[in-house]
């Protein structure tokens, strides 16, 4: 137990935590845009699986990881458009359409996998890139500056999306559409257009999140390999209070606790593994319960909008 609290363990938790957090970050930041504009997309899980499969399939057949990543992004956009069609144009109940989309993505990715790749094979994915100078700092260099390009991209997404959401005209429109669609509509903002945009952006990010698993972190595809990560990503958006910084905090908290409980097990601390495995879920709830000053939910979240009413 005593050797649990050492610098190398701490650095180990940071390395694993950052890797674990990457897919959550991509998916949850994308979902933040969708939810800020008023659309709850619970289909992230299915989109991630489709992104993971399509990215892996193209990368392994063409040999180009970048082409694979691009495919995952495009497939993510297509899945996002499907979600937007159902939830924006057809005004379907959003939570339930998401469950349908997840089931659809799970089935289709497994079906295509069985018909094309057939059995689990590995590829050589995106390799870690050590950042010059920073990467040579003792401990910190290994922990923070020796990751694959997709890991850096996930973290760079955070300041970028804060800027877009808070300091650009499009960000203002997204928030307006989520807070008061009627008012936004009367100001000449197309509610439907903005929501199509954010939901397909969210889809693209979920597709990339899936590809980050199959092309950078795990380097293979297996049926149902996301194993519920998409749902956790949606939960992290609520945790973050629709603020990318909060989403980052939630993703890191969840992932660090998960990495920590693995260390508890490795070091032979006497608690049943299943109890240790509950920790990230319990602590995420507890942390949110005790965080003061809850952010205000986008007023129109989960509510379809129809022009010309009221």
């Amino acid at each position: 137990m005593s050797d649990l609290f050492t610098l190398s363990v701490l650095m180990g938790i940071i390395v694993s935590g950052i890797r674990l957090a990457t897919p959550y970050l991509f998916a949850a930041i994308g979902e933040t845009f969708a939810q800020t504009s008023g659309v709850l997309n619970l289909g992230v899980e299915g989109i991630m699986l489709m992104g993971a499969f399509s990215g892996f399939y193209i990368a392994s057949t063409t040999g180009s990881l970048w082409l694979g990543l691009l495919t995952a992004a495009v497939v993510g956009i297509l899945m996002g458009l499907l979600m937007a069609l159902v939830s924006v144009t057809l005004q379907a109940e959003q939570g339930i359409s998401g469950i349908g989309l997840s089931l659809f993505g799970l089935g289709l990715s497994s079906l295509l996998f069985e018909k094309t790749i057939v059995s689990v094979v590995a590829i050589s994915g995106f390799q870690p890139i050590r950042i010059p100078i920073l990467g040579n700092i003792p401990y910190i260099g290994d922990a923070l500056f020796d990751h694959s390009i997709l890991v850096y991209a996930a973290f760079l997404l955070v300041p970028l999306s804060i800027y877009v959401l808070n300091h650009t005209p499009i960000g203002l429109k997204i928030r307006a559409v989520g807070q008061n669609p009627q008012a936004a509509d009367s100001l000449g903002i197309s509610v439907a257009k903005i929501r199509y945009l954010t939901v397909s952006f969210g889809g693209m990010m979920a597709g990339i999140a899936g590809a980050s698993l199959s092309l950078a972190l795990i380097d293979l595809f297996q049926e149902n390999m996301t194993n519920g990560m998409g749902y956790i990503a949606v939960a992290l958006v609520y945790f973050g209070g629709w603020n990318p910084l909060g989403v980052l905090g939630g993703s890191l908290l969840f992932s660090f606790v998960n990495a920590f409980q693995l260390w508890l097990q490795v070091k032979g601390v006497q608690i049943p593994s299943n109890i240790a495995l509950m920790m990230p879920y319990v602590l995420t709830i507890v942390a949110l319960a005790f965080a003061a000053n809850r952010a205000r939910q986008p007023t129109a979240l989960d509510k379809p909008f129809e022009r010309g009413e009221s």
Binding site: Q91, I99, L106, E223, V234, P272, N274, I285
Partner: protein
Amino acid sequence: MDRPANHRVLNRFFEKPGFKRLANQTIEALLPLASVPLALIIGAFMLLALNVNPLTAYGALINGVFGSTFGLTQTLVDATPLLLVGLGVVIAFRGGVLNIGGEGQITVGALAASAAALTLNQWPAYALIPTCLIAGALAGAVWGGIPGFLKARLGVNEILSTIMMNSIAQQFSLYLLTGPMLDPSEKAAGTSIAQSALLPKASWLPTLVPQTLLNAGTILAVVLAIFVYVFMWRTTIGYRIRAVGLNPDASRYAGINVRLYQMLALTLGGLFAGIAGAVQVMGVQRRMMDGLSGGYGFTGIVVALFGQLHPLGAIPASILFGGLLVGSDQMQRTTQVPSAIVDVLLGMIVLFVVSSVIWSRYRARRRQTHV
């Protein structure tokens, strides 16, 4: 809160309809039904791409349900947990909260019912069966009540907490099934499969048709559906839950404790999912094992929606989805297509259903709230 107006939407099954309204209602009720064949038509093209004759495949699907006593009873067996979870979702949804914690609530309900049955194994059936069902219901209520409490008191969003509670229940169940509740004979044989001992016979729900899995749990579920209808539409508490869901601001203005009733809606949602778990162990599996929730927690949400968020509507909806589950498995076996196509078909059906049902429901609601 404009009660008479809302009364009309919510009670449209039970009021005297005018001709035009009847036509509208018929369309609204049939739209979701049409989504099943629409999904199947798209599925037909996928089957063709897999070199399978769609006619053979869908023939097998229908044959799987109607072709044998076993298929028919199995449809009802699968419909039972879907209906029970669906009832919980109806209550929660009417109260304006989305309960996606069904999987976890089924799991803890099943754990509690099994624990009660294994502990009180000397009790006679007439005492043990109700005790186990109540244990399952209470455990589910607690599992749904925690997100309810967190929402009411601490403002924790129920979607976040119910997702997390599903994972916690899964690990909690594995902990019990590999440790304290592990079948002693598994331990003795050294195989250590994560399952409990066989429940005592006194706790088994009576079988309705010999040599099938159809059990008294199905009757219980139908009775509970009627109970939920009466509760939601004929009692003050039920009325308040619906009021909170339809218009929280107006309800607050009218002096209703919105948070309390949302918490109640989530708790009751968990209670019914907990009963579903108890029925699964006592009537079908007869022992607790890993993976018992079997996806019913999610499909139950779809069933609730398909039944127009009405407890009585959930009865035919659960039978339809039970039939789809049973029939599509038969289709897989007959044509040997990958079983993943079943998920694809179900996913498409959900998407079509949701696009049609709520479309008409919102239209109806808008007609009310904005007049």
